[in-house]
C-alpha cells in the first residue's frame, strides 16, 4: 500500500463517506426561507449531486443533498454540510475559496486547518488531478445554490 493512497484516503474521508452528513431529502419549494438548488454532474465518472441551501432568518445556512458518487465526492459533501452547520455565510465563502485553492495546488500547499477544519483532510486529493473534480463537486453545487439563495433573499427583501 503506497503512502500516497493513505494520504488520499485519510480515515476522515473514509468515515465521512459513510456518514454522509446532510444527505437527506431535498425540500425544494417546501423550504421556508430563501433557498437555492444546484445539480452538478461529473461527466467523467457519472458522479452526481443535487444540493440545496437555505438561508435561515437567524443567519445560519442549512445544506441538504442527495447524490451518488465515489468516497471522495460523498465525503466532501458530508464535510461541507458539517462545516455549513457551524459557519456563517461569510465563513463558508472563505472556506470555499481556501478549499478551491488547496485542490488546485497539486500537492504543493499546506492546508490551513484553522480555516478548513475537516476539509483539510482532502489535501492528499490535490496530488490526484483526476480526483480534484470529485472533491469539488459538492462545493460547486454549494456555491451555485448559495448564489441563488442569496438572489432569492434579495428578491424577497425588495418585494
Amino acid at each position: 500500500m503506497s503512502t500516497q493512497m493513505q494520504q488520499l484516503y485519510q480515515q476522515v474521508i473514509l468515515d465521512q463517506s459513510r456518514a454522509r452528513v446532510g444527505n437527506t431529502e431535498l425540500l425544494r419549494d417546501a423550504a421556508g426561507s430563501p433557498h437555492g438548488y444546484s445539480h452538478q454532474v461529473n461527466p467523467t465518472c457519472g458522479d452526481e449531486i443535487e444540493l440545496e441551501t437555505e438561508l435561515r432568518e437567524d443567519g445560519t445556512i442549512a445544506v441538504r443533498w442527495t447524490g451518488d458518487g465515489c468516497s471522495i465526492s460523498m465525503a466532501s459533501a458530508s464535510v461541507l454540510s458539517e462545516l455549513a452547520a457551524e459557519s456563517s455565510v461569510a465563513q463558508m465563502l472563505e472556506i470555499e475559496g481556501a478549499f478551491h485553492e488547496l485542490m488546485h495546488s497539486r500537492g504543493t500547499m499546506e492546508a490551513d486547518e484553522s480555516i478548513l477544519g475537516d476539509a483539510a483532510a482532502f489535501t492528499g486529493v490535490s496530488k490526484f488531478p483526476a480526483r480534484i473534480k470529485c472533491a469539488l463537486l459538492a462545493w460547486m453545487a454549494f456555491k451555485d445554490a448559495l448564489n441563488q439563495a442569496q438572489a432569492a433573499r434579495e428578491e424577497k427583501h425588495n418585494a
Partner: protein, 416 residues
C-alpha cells in the same frame, strides 16, 4: 507467441510508482508496438508532405503512404480501398452517416440522396447497449427529421433481447444502428440475425465495429452491412484516426458533412461539385502520418492473426470471469458466452472511482465510470462500473495481479 510480443510494446515496461504496469484499459485505447512508433518517425523524417496535391517527389511518397493505408484497411475489413474513408475517430464516422442522412432529409444531395431522407412516421432503431457515439447522433437525427428513435433492450445476461425484434424493427424503420461488440459487457452481438431483419424491411444497417475490428476477424462484405465505423487507436494504431466504411454506391450518394478543399471537383463563388467517395468525406489536410502508422499496425495485427487474438482474449476473459466470481461482493455486468476479453463489474459498497484508484496504486490500469454508455449502466441499476479490458499484449499474470488487488478493495474501504 503472445508472451513474446509483449516486448514489442515499450510502454509495458513503464512503472507506476513502485509497481509494474498491467494495462487493462485497451477498450478505451490500445498501446502501440515499436514498429508503429517507428513509422511515425520515418514518415516525418523522410516523406512528410501534403497528399493528392503536389507534383513533387515528397508529395508523391506521402500520397503513396496514405493510399497504401487505405489498401491495408480494406485488406483488414473487406471491400475495396475506395470503400474506406478516413476520419478523425469512429465518432466522426458514425456522425458522417447520421448527419449525411440529416442533410439528405433537408434536400441536399439531390435525387441520389433521396433514399436517405427521413421524415415523421419513419423510425431509427438502436440498442440499449450503445456507446454514446452510436446513440446521440441518431437522437439528433430523430430530432431534426421528426423520425422516431426506438431501441432493442438488453437482457440480464447482457445480450440483446430480440424477443420483439420484429415489432421494434418494422416497416417504418429506415436505419438499424448497433454495436458489433459491447464496449462494456464484451458481448458479441448476432450481426446476421439483425442484418436479416433489416434486409427484410429495407432498412440501412450501420455497424459500430469499434470493439470488434481490433479483437477478431471482421469482414464487412460478408456481414453485409451498409456502413461501419471503427477507430485506429483501439487497434494498435495512432490517435487521431478512424474510418468510415460503406458500400460504394451508398457512399457516393450520401451528402458530405464537412466541406472544403480536396473533396471537390469544381468550385465557383456560387456553387461546388463534390468528388465521389472516399474523397468526398475527406475535406482538408488528412492525418497522413497516422494513416501510414496505422498501415504498420494492420500489418502487425495480420501477422499475429485476428483469430489468434480472439482466442487469446477469450482465455483471458475466462480467467477474469472465474476469478472475479470468487471474490465476494462483486457483480459482473453481463455474462454472455460469446465475448471478447472485456469485463465490467460493480463492487458492493465501493464506488468504481475508488476501485480504480486502488487498483492504480498497484499499477493496474482499468477504466471506471460509465464508459460512454449511461443508458446501459442505468439498465443495470448503476451509474458507474469498473472495466478490465484486455488485448493481445496482456497475459495471465496481468489478470492474476488484477484479481489479487481486486480482492483487497472491499477490505481496504472497510466494507468487508
Amino acid at each position: 507467441m503472445f508472451s513474446r510480443l509483449r516486448g514489442d510494446f515499450p510502454i509495458l515496461d513503464v512503472r507506476v510508482g513502485e509497481s509494474p504496469l498491467s494495462y487493462l484499459d485497451s477498450g478505451a485505447t490500445s498501446q502501440k508496438p515499436q514498429c508503429v512508433i517507428d513509422t511515425f518517425v520515418e514518415y516525418f523524417q523522410q516523406r512528410n508532405a501534403a497528399v493528392h496535391r503536389g507534383a513533387h517527389s515528397l508529395a508523391v511518397e506521402a500520397t503513396d503512404a496514405f493510399e497504401n493505408g487505405r489498401i491495408a484497411a480494406a485488406g483488414l475489413v473487406g471491400g475495396t480501398p475506395e470503400q474506406v474513408c478516413w476520419t478523425k475517430n469512429a465518432t466522426e464516422a458514425l456522425n458522417i452517416v447520421a448527419l449525411g442522412m440529416d442533410r439528405a432529409s433537408h434536400g441536399f444531395g439531390g435525387d441520389d440522396a433521396e433514399r436517405f431522407a427521413l421524415a415523421p412516421g419513419d423510425s431509427i432503431v438502436v440498442t440499449e447497449m450503445e456507446h454514446h457515439a452510436n446513440l446521440v447522433p441518431w437522437q439528433q437525427l430523430a430530432a431534426s427529421t421528426g423520425a422516431q428513435l426506438r431501441w432493442l433492450p438488453v437482457t440480464d445476461s447482457g445480450e440483446l433481447d430480440l424477443t420483439d425484434l420484429d415489432t421494434i424493427v418494422d416497416e417504418s424503420t429506415k436505419v438499424l444502428a448497433f454495436t458489433h461488440v459491447s464496449n462494456v459487457l464484451g458481448t458479441i452481438n448476432p450481426v446476421d440475425r439483425l442484418v436479416q431483419r433489416a434486409r427484410a424491411i429495407g432498412a440501412y444497417v450501420v455497424l459500430d465495429a469499434c470493439q470488434s475490428v481490433p479483437h477478431m476477424p471482421v469482414d464487412f462484405v460478408d456481414l453485409d452491412v451498409d456502413f461501419a465505423a471503427f477507430s485506429a487507436h483501439k487497434a494498435l494504431g495512432p490517435t487521431g484516426l478512424g474510418a468510415l466504411w460503406g458500400k460504394s454506391e451508398l457512399l457516393d450518394a450520401l451528402p458530405p458533412v464537412l466541406t472544403g478543399g480536396s473533396m471537390i471537383t469544381t468550385v465557383t463563388m456560387e456553387e461546388t461539385e463534390f468528388m465521389p467517395a472516399p474523397q468526398r468525406f475527406e475535406a482538408g489536410t488528412q492525418p497522413v502520418a497516422e494513416v501510414a502508422a496505422f498501415a504498420t499496425a494492420i500489418g502487425y495485427l495480420t501477422e499475429v492473426g485476428l483469430d489468434n487474438v480472439l482466442e487469446h482474449e477469450k482465455e483471458l476473459a475466462r480467467v477474469l470471469l472465474d476469478g472475479i466470481g470468487q471474490i465476494p461482493g462483486i457483480h459482473i455486468l453481463g455474462e454472455a458466452e460469446d465475448r471478447i476479453g472485456t469485463v465490467a463489474f460493480d463492487v458492493d459498497g465501493v464506488h468504481a472511482h475508488d476501485v480504480g484508484q486502488y487498483l492504480d496504486s498497484q499499477g493496474i490500469a482499468v477504466r471506471v465510470g460509465h464508459h460512454c454508455a449511461q443508458p446501459l449502466h442505468r439498465r443495470f441499476g448503476v451509474t458507474a462500473s469498473t472495466r478490465a479490458s484486455t488485448y493481445l499484449y496482456n497475459n495471465v499474470e496481468d489478470c492474476t495481479r488484477f484479481l489479487t488487488a481486486l480482492a483487497e478493495v472491499r477490505p481496504f474501504f472497510g466494507v468487508a
